[in-house]
Structures are given as C-alpha cells and as structure tokens.
Symmetry: C2
C-alpha cells in the first residue's frame, strides 16, 4: 500500500503543548503497551506497519515539521516537503509527483491519501487497504472512505451515497451543516467526509496537469508558490462523476481539541499531579518536572509545558485559539532532526538552553555574528569541531565559542549539554552555516 | 518602641510559593505605590518604620530564615535565632534576653511582641505604640491587644474583658470555639486573641528565670533544646492576674491561606496570565516566566512557581497542607543573604542553577568533594577567588572548578551566573567552608 499522510499546520488548539513549530500530531499523549507514550504520528505510523509491513508511507508536510518527523519516525519515512502552505490539492499533487518521480511508483498503482491525525484502530487501516484495491478495480476513478456518523456533527462535510451498501456510487456532497440539517442528512444515510481518498497515482497526476500545467515533481516543487489555494474536495472529488464511497463503521475520532483529546487518554493524568477527593472529571497533561496539585476542580483540563499553562473548563477548551494567537512568546522547546532543545533561562542579554543530541547525530557547522556561546557537556560523549579543529568531548568538558567561531558537535552516545548564549542581540536568525571541513573522524552530517 | 516580630515556620499552606525554606511571609504579593511588590515581612517592617522611625525591630526566627530576612530587610534588622523550634514562650524569652544582653535594652523598657504576618494598616502599629506605653504605666504586668471580631471565627482564641471600655482588665480566656460558642462569646463582648503582648522587658526575663532557670541570652541559646514546648499564652498570659486588654477595631487579617491572601491582593492577577470572558472570581499568582491561560473557570485560585502549580477551588485552597506534605521535592528557588538561586535543570548527574549575587555581596569560600562545577557569568562584574587566586570576572567569563577546588565569587555590581554542577552524588550537604585567604582586593565576606 502506498499511503500519503497529510500532516497539517501549527495547531494552536492544543497550546501549550503545540506551538508554532510543534504541531499537535507530535505530542506524546498515547500510552503504548510498555507504558511509554507515543504521539499521533507515531501511533498512526505504527498501526500502518502492523497492518501492512510493506506499506510505503509518505508524509506531505511543510519544512518546519521535517525535524520532528525524523526524530519521531526515523529516517526511513518518505517526506514530501511543501515549500509553502497551499491547500490539500497542491499538497496531494506534489506528494503524488514525489512518489512517481522520486520513489518510482508507477501510474497504475493505487495510492491512499488521508490526514495524519485521526484517532483510529487497526480496522481503519484494513479499510484503507480495501479502499486502495477498490480504486484500481476500474469501477470508478476515485474511492472515498465515508465515516458512519456517531452524532449530527456540524464540524464535517457529508457524503450522500446512492444506496446503503458497503460500497456505493456517490450521489452528492454537503457542506458542514447546522445540527438540524445534519440530522436530516443522517436520515438520508449520509456519511462523514473524513478527507480519505484512494485512486491510481496517474489519476492525480492527470488532474495536476489539467489544473496546474505541471506533473513533474521538480516543476511542482519550484512553482509551488504559484499554485492555487484549493482543496482536493473542490478541485477533484466534487467534479468527478465516476466516484464511489466505502462505508466505515469503526472508530474514527478527530482529536483536535483538548476536550476530545483527553477523552481518549487511557489515564486522566500524564506527568506529575495530585488531586484531592473533591476533584471530578479532571484531565492533566504535565510536561514540566514539577507537580500540579488540584483541589476541588470539576470538569477541568490542565495542560502544562515549557511554553505555558492552560487551565480550562472542559467544554471551553475548544475555544482557546484566539487567546493563544495573542500570546507572543519565544518557543521554549523544539524537536529537531538531531534531538531537541529546551530554553531553561531567559535574561536580557543571555539565554540558557539544554541541548540533547541523539546518538549518531550532529548539528550543522555554523557560527553566530552577535553572540558568544559556552557549552558545558553534562552527559554523553561525542566529537566537536571548533574553527576547523576536531576534538573528543565528554561530560564535564567546557567549550567557549566567541562570536564568529565556527562550531558543531556530533553525539557518539546520547549527549546533553548546557548552552549559554550571551550578547545584546540574541536571535534565532543570527546563524551562518558552513560545510563541515575535512577532519579526521566520523563526523558525518545527519 | 522595641518590637519583637515572631516569624513562624515553613508554612506549606501557601505552596507552591512557600516551601521548606521560604515561608509565606517572604512571598512578594503586595503591590507598593511604585507598582513593585513587597512581602509580608517587608510590608510590616516598612509600616513600623513609617509609624516610628526610631523603632528597634528584632525578628525571632529559625536559622533557615536568616538569609531571606537579610535579603529582604537589609543588615540593620535585629535577629534572634532559635537554635531549634520550640513554642512561643521559649522564643520570646530568648528574644528578650537577646534584647537585654546583646542590644543593651534596660529591664524597665517596654517591649511589644507580635506575629510577623498580620495584614494590617498603619493604625495597628499606632495601637502597638499605645500598648507599649500602657504596659509600663504600672496598672498591669502585661497588656494584650484584643482584636474586635468581624465574624464568629473558629480559628482564634477569645479574650473576655471585664468591660467594653478601650482598656479593660481581662476577665478570662477561651480556647478556639465552634461557631455557635463563638457567637455567644461575641455577645459577651469577647475579643480575638491575636497573639500580641506588651510588657516590661524585665517581666519576661523574670518569667524565664522562674520557668527555665535561665535569663542570660547565652544560657538560653545554648540550652534552647532542653526548654519546654509551651506557648506564651499558657506559660504566662493565662496565669497572670495583673493583665489588661486594649481594644483594636482597625483592619487585622490573618492571611494564612490562598483564599484569605488573594482577597487582599489589589489586583486579581500577579504575573503573566490571560482569562476569557467566562472566568469569574479567579485569582492568579504566576512566578514563572510563561503565561497561564484560563478558560471558563469560576472561584478558582492558581499559583505557579518553580516548585509546582496549584489549581484550586477558592474555598478548598485552605486544605492543601496534607497533600503538599506528600510532595517530596527539591527546593527549586531560595533567597540567600547574598542573593538567590533558582534550579533551572535537573538531570541524573547534573544540576543547572542560576545564581544571582546582590551588589556588594559574596558567597562563602568553599569546595565540594563529589562534584565539578562550571560558572558562566551572564551579567555584572565582580571578583572571584579560585584556589587562593583572585581574579576579576565579568559577563562572558567561564570558570571551571573541579571537585576539591576552593572557590567564591563577590559581586561588585549585581552579578548573575549559570552554575552547572556535575557528578554522581550531587548533594547540598557536600560543602566544606574555609576562611577567605589574604588576597589583594575588596573581597569582604558578607
């Protein structure tokens, strides 16, 4: 199975754990059997591989997510990088051309396209495999997955099938309705449109040619900015007559808000927290390393992370976005392809950061114009290159890098260091990258 | 006026802002006219000086509070250090002997004794001055301040006066009653016992002689551990026949819980926070440097600091102590006589701390047996002594101190540094102090 997972944007709806560079699909909230936690993207990736060990997975996303994807899924996953944000049609066209041109997938092969963040079970991915088979049987150009509605939701578009069989031609589509209209649709056998499609790869490429003039990956990538902002539904699905919908009655949940998300947590509390006996229906996600004490709270969600603290009535947690938009704040934590960083202290003319480099990874070779830096290695071993000179580093070592000094560090084992940045104009944009000079060691760039 | 302020214990009732070493009276919650914040102890000290610029103030407390007192009040304030915790009678006896033997106060002079943490206005301290005068007029051995009750409280003892005049002989005392009984007492003209006494200094010394066998400061201090745990009320006031009570009808509040404390905050929010329009009666004290977002909360108190986060129904915030007692946590922030420290990162074999030295202060000259340390100075200027060698330090300087290395630093201007401690057995007890060696500079020990 060829599957394209659409990995969406910055998602402030799950602030403070999602931020401008960490989308909700990367927050580790779901308990694995071994007790550890996995993110939405890790859960979906694992489920796909459990259903189809041979599946070729490509994630369609923006550049900002690449580091987090590699950090969480490893290097084997395919990534189609959107140079800027357009809507789903350009994103899908680009990803399909990537599969064709870069991965060598033939135009007759089926491809399944779906969002990266539904909360589903194994049967969903079994349904996707069936949907892929259906899409190449020749009875239709496009096959949709229709989710059997569990309530008259106003959040989803609806698909009206011709009949109630497991696979039916599509009669028509309906936009997100009000609750009353949703009830009528459901009375007519309507299904939720979960944004899941399957078709031959060549079908998307043909649509791309018709609507953008390009089918080659290189062309679509380079001219991506000029492509129209249009959804796959509008651009393709709603104009297609040879289209089928396959019913899906299994679990399918959109965990886009703290309210829906916390309902699916197997335990009401992740992280350090205590509640007195007068608390009821309280969910807590605490990524800080200090405890949260709750007294007499009812129907409250608390989420605490390096970027801030949310304390919300359960139902009102769906409406945080306009408030979070007002918060102008430095990103305090980020996953990178090589590991992660966490800001530990902010002063007017200094910034203290903990850097964690995963084993076998290193950062770019770079310098800063307007700040001095000091590294104190607190655990692990590795190699550093400072102004062209390589050296071994280990816990306890201190490296001073005045402004202009070129530097990088590579972790042989997981390596943690405290970085103190000092200067009157500390900025993430003050960074010049260089190719790594020839040094006699194993400093491969990640 | 000679005034002894009794500064009580660790006060977990205001967790997370109070902890084992920071008592509630040191939390800066009260807005000054210039917009900055002062603590209870600073507020009371300022009020005393506004009423009586000549007042001699002595704080009776344990060793753990000495650093915070000097940090908040300066070096001029007198401190009577209790070698261990006994009850108020030994504490008052020790402080009075300190006034007599160390400060040269004569036995005929009046002394006023009161808790450090009532929330009061200027008129309270004017009343204390009158109480002091009353106590040396010869009509009684002991003068009490009786607070006019504002409601039938179950939290206070009651004083029943002979009559309703401004000054009356005491008829009797009553223990903390239930609400119904409290109403009856109030019907009889009873006053709250706020633990405020005035008498001649020699009176307390005489009682100390009678009950402990000692009156000299040195003796009381050295044998403090052997003294009985007994309150001044039981040991002295309730056995005294020549005793008067002076009525006080001004503001007097005991801000011992988050509920009572937040009521007196001039603004419902201290620190970074946002609330949506559906929040009602929410108080927030946020000492962290990230925002708190509140959605749809009613009658809730939130307090966040380096030690943890409290989210509590307003009324239930009075009952946090047993829960806080269960939290075993490293103290993440502390005020010292020379400044403060804040733990920024904790790893298995390292600890990262921000140290702030106040201008003109330095730490002890010391070494650690089982850990290496690295200082990165992030602001300010000063002098360091490392293994006997003095050097000037400024922002950007890095100093490495392997285990065993003797070190100290003295701030010429306010000086901040990031200290990284590394070792497998990091402990606050791993510290050896030394006298500062002769070095040609201005490194005076604080």
């Amino acid at each position: 199975m060829n599957i394209i997972l659409l990995s969406g944007g910055s998602g402030k709806r799950l602030w403070p754990l999602s931020n401008d560079i960490r989308s909700k699909q990367f927050i580790k909230l779901f308990q694995r059997e071994d007790g550890s936690y996995e993110s939405m993207v890790q859960r979906v990736y694992r489920q796909i591989q459990e259903v189809d060990g041979q599946a070729s997975v490509t994630i369609a996303t923006s550049r900002t997510q690449v580091s987090a994807i590699h950090n969480q899924l490893g290097e084997a996953v395919g990534i189609s990088i959107e140079p800027c944000r357009r809507d789903t049609f350009p994103a899908i066209a680009l990803a399909c051309s990537y599969l064709h041109d870069e991965k060598g997938i033939g135009p007759e092969e089926a491809v399944v396209i779906c969002p990266v963040d539904p909360y589903v079970d194994r049967d969903y991915f079994e349904a996707l495999r069936e949907l892929a088979l259906l899409s190449v049987q020749g009875n239709a150009n496009l096959a949709l997955l229709g989710i059997e509605p569990s309530y008259p939701s106003e959040k989803y578009g609806y698909i009206i099938p011709e009949h109630a069989g497991p696979v039916s031609p599509v009669k028509t589509y309906r936009e997100k309705p009000d609750q009353k209209t949703a009830k009528e649709y459901i009375g007519q056998g309507a299904l939720w449109n979960g944004g899941v499609f399957a078709c031959r790869l060549g079908y998307v490429l043909k649509k791309a040619q018709e609507q953008t003039g390009f089918t080659r990956y290189k062309d679509l990538y380079e001219r991506y900015e000029t492509l129209p902002k249009i959804s796959f539904d509008y651009a393709v699905a709603e104009r297609e007559n040879r289209i089928q919908v396959m019913r899906f009655g299994g679990q399918w949940k959109d965990l886009g808000t703290w309210n829906t998300l916390t309902e699916e947590m197997s335990e009401p509390v992740i992280g350090q927290a205590m509640q007195n006996e007068n608390c009821e229906n309280v969910s807590i996600v605490n990524e800080l390393n200090v405890p949260i004490l709750c007294m007499g709270l009812k129907n409250v969600i608390i989420s605490a992370g390096p970027d801030g603290i949310l304390v919300s009535d359960r139902e009102q947690s769906s409406y945080i976005k306009p408030f979070v938009d007002q918060i102008e704040q430095r990103v305090m934590f980020a996953e990178k392809s090589w590991g992660s960083f966490a800001i530990k202290d902010v002063e007017e003319e200094s910034l203290t950061i903990k850097v964690t480099l995963n084993s076998g990874h290193g950062m770019n070779y770079h310098s800063h114009e307007n700040r001095d830096e000091v590294w104190t290695v607190i655990s692990g071993t590795g190699r550093a290159v400072i102004d062209g000179e390589a050296r071994t580093v280990k816990s306890g070592d201190v490296i001073r890098m005045p402004a202009g000094c070129r530097h990088t560090i590579y972790a042989q084992t997981e390596l943690k260091l405290i970085e103190v940045q000092m200067g009157s104009e500390i900025s993430v944009h003050d960074k010049k990258k260089y190719p790594l000079p020839d040094v006699p060691n194993d400093m491969s760039q990640p």
